[in-house]
Symmetry: C2
Subunit: 407 residues, 2 copies
Amino acid sequence: MAQKTILSAIAGGTVTAPRGFLAGATHIGLKAGAKDSPDLGILYSQVPCTAAGVFTSSKIKAAPVILCQRHISDGKAQAIVVNAGCANACTGERGLDDAAEMAALAARKLGIAPQEALVASTGLIGASLPMEPIRAGIEAISPSGEGGHELARAILTTDTSHKQIAVAVELDGSRFTVAGIAKGAGMIHPNLATLLCFLTTDAAVDAGFLSLALQRAVGDSFNMITIDGDTSPNDTVLILANGLAGNEMIAEGALDAEAFQAALGQVCTYLARCIARDGEGATKLIEVSVEGGLTSADARVAARTIASSPLVKAAVHGSDPNWGRIVAALGRSGAEVATSKVDLYLNDVCLMKAGCPLPVDGGLLRAAMEGTEIAIRVCLNLGQGMATAWGCDLSEEYVTINSAYTT
Amino acid sequence: MAQKTILSAIAGGTVTAPRGFLAGATHIGLKAGAKDSPDLGILYSQVPCTAAGVFTSSKIKAAPVILCQRHISDGKAQAIVVNAGCANACTGERGLDDAAEMAALAARKLGIAPQEALVASTGLIGASLPMEPIRAGIEAISPSGEGGHELARAILTTDTSHKQIAVAVELDGSRFTVAGIAKGAGMIHPNLATLLCFLTTDAAVDAGFLSLALQRAVGDSFNMITIDGDTSPNDTVLILANGLAGNEMIAEGALDAEAFQAALGQVCTYLARCIARDGEGATKLIEVSVEGGLTSADARVAARTIASSPLVKAAVHGSDPNWGRIVAALGRSGAEVATSKVDLYLNDVCLMKAGCPLPVDGGLLRAAMEGTEIAIRVCLNLGQGMATAWGCDLSEEYVTINSAYTT
């Protein structure tokens, strides 16, 4: 960044930290067994926003995803209404009607056009939304400047803690904030690996650049985490930019574009790591860095494959430095690999150099594996491609949680 | 098949059922904790064979795989020497030397050229073979016509039972036998998901057709099973055809070609199902049939993705008819899917018709889920593509087993 830029996290910051954003949530009983826990919420900007979204790559898309893609196609939005506990996926025509009604109800309450309201749902697939409590619930929500925390709780399902962050950006001529909340890839009752993330900023950002910046940030964060390889029909990342910071409109190549991208990247990476660490039954965060890939795509697929290998994850769970499993995952990843060039490090201990195993102090290594963050580093020594992926260990708890859902 | 063909399983049949095949095994202490269990073996034909192989798709190939590919390139072989307990993978130049020495030792003992001996290993990655006991072990093995059973045990690692079959084929003018043994995709100490399968037949088969027939059979069997998505550097399927049945040489389009392909398919599918059922910690076999795919490739990827979904596997383990997870896996599989056309059956109960959930008796469905074989059927209603995949449930035991390997 050519100009002086300061990025600083705001203590306890959430999506209502940027100017002009209000949020609120209520409990309508959608999450079975979660008494009093909020499960329906609204995020709202007092002025119109440019907006962008990234959605599930699944061929089977939940009704709210289909609706969101339609409403956001003009690059504008002003509110998001969201529920947890029911995914409104595989619900046919009725599901689309229900999602449209959620948007319309929120829009009427907030005095905006229905097209300006976006919708997200997370929870059980194949069940229709109970519209009576949703109608009453939307009416009951009172968005406020402190409501971001409550909204961060409302979108959770099996997460053990809420995930939120706000980053203040100070530049020579301007100051703005980028913030986000997310829910993780837990898969226990009543939800399916559904990733939701809502981002807000008071920066003025051109819609085209906003979409591009979001795709880049998601590519290096939410697209690089894995809990168990399953993708839900509901995955949704949305960003609203309301311009109340009064900065000059940020577009591709603008002076502040790089700082905005950096802040957005920081927010997304923080939330993505939170999600990986809080995976179903997880006790450890796994960070896999791959360097020297023939291409970036090679490095990305290698990092993701290692982070998602059940064998690697199970070994990490047991603090077992069974590095052969890392090499096996690398080999099957599809990335270009020359066996005789591969170096492998586990928590900074080199285990393999140029494809040959090195003698290592097993006790030292096992001790390092006892930590709650495990770093795997692979040097392919073929080119300049680099990537980092995050995952978590695979525990008996994951299976226990996911083997009894409707029973 | 135009002519009359009878395929019949031979009770207790194994790789020494076809004429002229001998086998033997011995214990040299390669499998830690497995006292007296055989871990080194030889399979041998009394006359030269045409031969073919299918090997791991991993970019990181174990030394025995590299050697096998070299030795089998002329379509001929006469013996296989195999060990369990050490994969001889990621072992650099020494690994290649060790694999070559194993082949040379077996060849000298059997009085054949080293090039006619194939080698396979399964076990820990990154450890070199202890060559002293292997030299003595190869010397000690006495192949016999009853030795197939012992060899079937010698190649096991974490499998709970051996896997073997022999099928007799009777045609108008000839009679031959196709047989096989396999070890499964268990991943506990001391091995990595390594699939080994050795097939024998006394039919005379043209080398080119043998290779083609093997690829077809493997494509519909071993390539359609999944335990946890990890592929090892050691996966090896080999077939030896010694011609002692005295039949007319079978080539593509020959009168007996179809019967041979059918018998080979039956042997491979039987062994593949055995492997899926005996997956690490597994308690249930999952069979996923996909019909109506736009292409066969679509049907195959859909079936495999559903069978490998951790969420589907965990639900099956808990006898939980959580069918939304099946649909989610289908959606992310990459197969062409039109949500509004999908029908879904679980153990013959229709749960979703044309993309909409049907009302089902939950108790009845849960009762069906209690069985040890779970059938999932998906009709995509887009074309003629069909495929079947096999997998197993995901249990806490899988994690327990795989979280403590070297510790």
